[in-house]
């Protein structure tokens, strides 16, 4: 509480609140209003709100991991839950939690909390960072106190300096000793970086484009069509610079065991004001063109070529359940058939549309005869699916991540503040640390021991190397 009050006293907003209060004719209501405003700001930036929001968002996020998020409300309507529960889940948009208004409101609240907290706490933090020394605290309640057997002198203060402490005599016979002051800036850095990441995510959502584009081998797609059919198109998004993307070839590499090794798409990108480039795209290796990323995302069978009595015709394939494909029906000998393909590694099935029974198997390149007709599958026409993405928020997100890592590197370090001072006629070592009192106590005991050993042996004895290095 004390710390919060300190932060409030030094914060610019409350200085302004106090200032306006003094200038105005202070009525009771105005005082209440400003009091309320102050209380509201304190609450918005408070640690309690932060903890509550963190745990609340954590709890809310669980819903989205239990209920499928990409299938719309139908997932709930057909679920075998209690009708009341279904009603409730539908009301809170449990089928799309992370985009529901209330969830976004919680995230926004965290964003505001983070901003207000940083705003309130940064000025005192920065001021403290600028200080070369801090006077010893009057109260000894929160400090640990150890007796020192002798007064400070150059050699004894070197015990501390050799261990990375900075020593300053801020008043006669009063020494301030500290180490790792920079750690104090860590939390602020982390908060600012989280701010940058969230801002980048919002900017990306507003001005980004995300599309799933299937392209058949030999065909191409233009920039404006990608943007037009995009799954996600932010309200502030700009149209892409014109280009045309052609799929030259698509190849799936298999391992000897039959597992997929990698998917490769060879694409050609032409633009009116740039050189034509041919590139291979595979999973983990996107093509990047002017901030637009093309990812190898999915693939499928678009059509097959059927040879019949020496002539080739093209049958389109539509996806059936669980990754299988069905061709459009065709007539052979007065009977209607279709081709059912479960996977490229297996023979296709010839299915009669009358009773949907398989009447034979087909392997590409091998013809069969039915009545007077000879027919077979010549080849399959694959399509390669690209995820096309343009996200202008990413540089800001990555910048935030970089800052975050810098802030995180500071986290394991501890800032220690020690005082060597007189308590009555004894010399004492006092200390405090914001992270871990037990460890500090132990460290202080070690320091005091080396110090006192030196005192016992007398000033002439000095210190040996092992003592300096510490244990």
């Amino acid at each position: 509480m004390r710390r919060t009050m300190q932060a409030i006293v030094h914060s610019p907003v409350l200085a302004r609140v106090r200032y306006t209060r003094r200038r105005r004719v202070v009525t009771v209501t105005a005082m209440m209003a400003s009091n309320f405003r102050r209380r509201a700001i304190v609450f918005l930036g408070s640690l309690k709100l932060a903890i509550a929001l963190l745990l609340l968002i954590a709890a809310a996020s669980i819903i989205g991991t239990l209920i499928p998020q990409d299938q719309g409300p139908s997932v709930l309507e057909t679920a075998s839950f209690h009708p009341r529960l279904i009603q409730f889940l539908l009301a809170i948009k449990a089928y799309d939690v992370y985009h529901a208004a209330w969830f976004v409101a919680l995230l926004t609240a965290l964003f505001v909390n983070l901003a207000v907290c940083t705003w309130l706490r940064f000025p005192p933090t920065w001021r403290r960072y600028g200080l070369q020394w801090v006077a010893r605290p009057k109260s000894t309640a929160e400090q640990d106190l150890l007796p020192l057997l002798g007064a400070p002198n150059a050699v004894r203060l070197d015990i501390l300096r050799k261990r990375g402490f900075r020593v300053s005599e801020y008043a006669p016979q009063q020494y301030f000793v500290e180490k790792n002051k920079f750690v104090r800036l860590g939390p602020t850095l982390i908060h600012i970086s989280l701010f940058a990441i969230m801002a980048g995510a919002i900017w990306g959502g507003l001005s980004g484009v995300n599309a799933s584009i299937p392209i058949q081998v030999g065909e191409s797609v233009r920039a404006e069509d990608i943007v037009r059919t995009a799954r996600i198109r932010g309200p502030l998004s700009q149209p892409f610079a014109p280009f045309e993307l052609k799929l030259d070839a698509f190849r799936i590499d298999f391992r000897p065991t039959g597992q997929v090794k990698q998917y490769y798409s060879r694409v050609m990108l032409t633009a009116p004001d740039a050189q034509t480039q041919t590139r291979q795209v595979w999973v983990n290796e996107p093509l990047i063109y002017r901030g637009v990323y093309f990812y190898q995302a999915f693939w499928g069978v678009a059509a097959l070529s059927l040879t019949r009595n020496g002539q080739t015709e093209r049958l389109s394939m539509t996806p059936a359940k669980t990754g299988a494909y069905m061709s459009s029906p065709f007539l052979v000998g007065g009977q209607e058939f279709l081709i059912f393909l479960r996977s490229l590694e297996e023979p296709a099935l010839l299915v009669s549309t009358k009773n949907f029974e398989a009447v034979g198997q087909l392997v590409p390149g091998i013809e069969t005869s039915l009545g007077s007709d000879r027919f077979g599958i010549d080849s399959y026409h694959l399509y390669s699916g690209f995820q096309v993405k343009h996200d202008p928020g990413i540089p800001l997100v990555y910048f935030g991540c970089g800052l975050l890592v810098m802030g995180l590197l500071m986290v394991p370090f501890r800032h220690r503040e020690l005082w060597i001072t007189q308590d009555g006629d004894h010399w004492v070592l006092m200390g405090r640390s914001h992270k871990g009192r037990v460890i500090l106590k132990r460290e202080m005991a070690q320091l005091a021991q080396v110090w006192n050993d030196h005192c016992i042996r007398g000033d002439g004895g000095g210190l040996n190397g092992r003592e300096l290095a510490g244990t």
Partner: protein
């Protein structure tokens, strides 16, 4: 001399399993029979377990020709490795009492449950297309090291509750007796384990955060989006939120002790769901270690 790597891999895992299990017994003897020497036997066995885990990882890496943390079993051996590393860091740095007694069963459970996985999750297999990236070397190992740090933080929290429980029963036994020094000792141990939990979370939290960041960068490279709310991502965020709440709560002094250690246990539960539980929940993009 030709080294039979697959055999060495098996031997390493078996050694790690036995030594960590026996280490627990040694630490137990040390406590019950009050034999300080048994603690050193336990530490030695834990050291052997560390060597076993390391041998297993090296052998698997050479057999599979990729980073040895690509399926569930491999990741659990990696977890064991990091758990033992952080155990020794804690032992050397902070010298907690009876820490091995809590850490060794956790290490043993890690490797024992790994060895009980169905064969399909254990064998060396080539990587699927989405995993063929240098990011797997960075992201997975960082995330697992954060899991290990949280596991040790959980062990420290258990240590706290252990001493609390002992303090409670001791107080009953010595009711009315002048056991002041004993009580002071217990209080010191409580404060120590509370702070040890905090220190270990201070280690795990940045690791988890860097793990999530590298994961986001990999996702941006492979799936075209740095965040897609898939169950594993979401649970890692939930874990992150819980530990962030812990760190913020720890700043206010009244959250030390019971409440703080309770939150550390909650964080560990969230971490377990992120690591293992999500595989049962629903399918997502992270469906590599899937349990069908």
């Amino acid at each position: 001399m030709v080294v039979n790597w697959p055999e060495l891999e098996t031997w390493g895992a078996v050694t790690a399993c036995w030594t960590t299990g026996l280490a627990f017994l040694a630490f137990l003897f040390a406590l019950v029979l009050k034999r300080g020497a048994m603690t050193w036997v336990g530490r030695g066995l834990m050291g052997a377990g560390l060597v076993g885990a390391l041998v297993t990882l090296v052998a698997r890496g050479l057999v599979a020709q990729h980073a040895p943390w690509s399926n569930l079993w491999e990741s659990m051996v990696t977890l064991l490795f990091w758990v033992l590393v952080f155990y020794f860091v804690t032992e050397i740095w902070y010298r907690p009492r009876h820490f091995g007694l809590i850490a060794s069963p956790l290490a043993f459970l890690t490797i024992a449950s790994a060895s009980m996985l169905p064969a399909g999750f254990k064998g060396a297999a080539p990587l699927m297309p989405a995993l063929q990236s240098y990011w797997i070397k960075i992201h997975v190992v960082i995330i697992i090291s954060s899991y290990a740090a949280f596991t040790m933080a959980f062990a420290a929290a258990l240590g706290y509750f252990f001493f609390r429980w002992r303090a409670g029963s001791q107080a009953l036994v010595s009711a009315g007796g002048p056991e002041v020094s004993h009580a002071a000792d217990f209080n010191a141990q409580l404060a120590f384990f509370d702070e040890l939990t905090y220190r270990l979370i201070l280690l795990g939290f940045p690791l988890l955060m860097v793990g999530i960041i590298t994961g986001a960068m990999w996702a941006n490279n492979a799936w075209g989006t740095y965040w897609s709310w898939d169950p594993k991502e979401t649970w890692s965020l939930i874990t992150w939120f819980v530990y962030a709440a812990y760190l913020h709560a720890r700043i206010t002094h009244d959250w030390a002790g019971d409440k703080a250690c309770g939150l550390a246990v909650l964080g560990f539960v969230a971490m377990l769901i992120t690591y293992i539980g999500v595989n049962y929940l629903s399918s997502g993009l992270h469906s590599y270690g899937f349990i069908r």
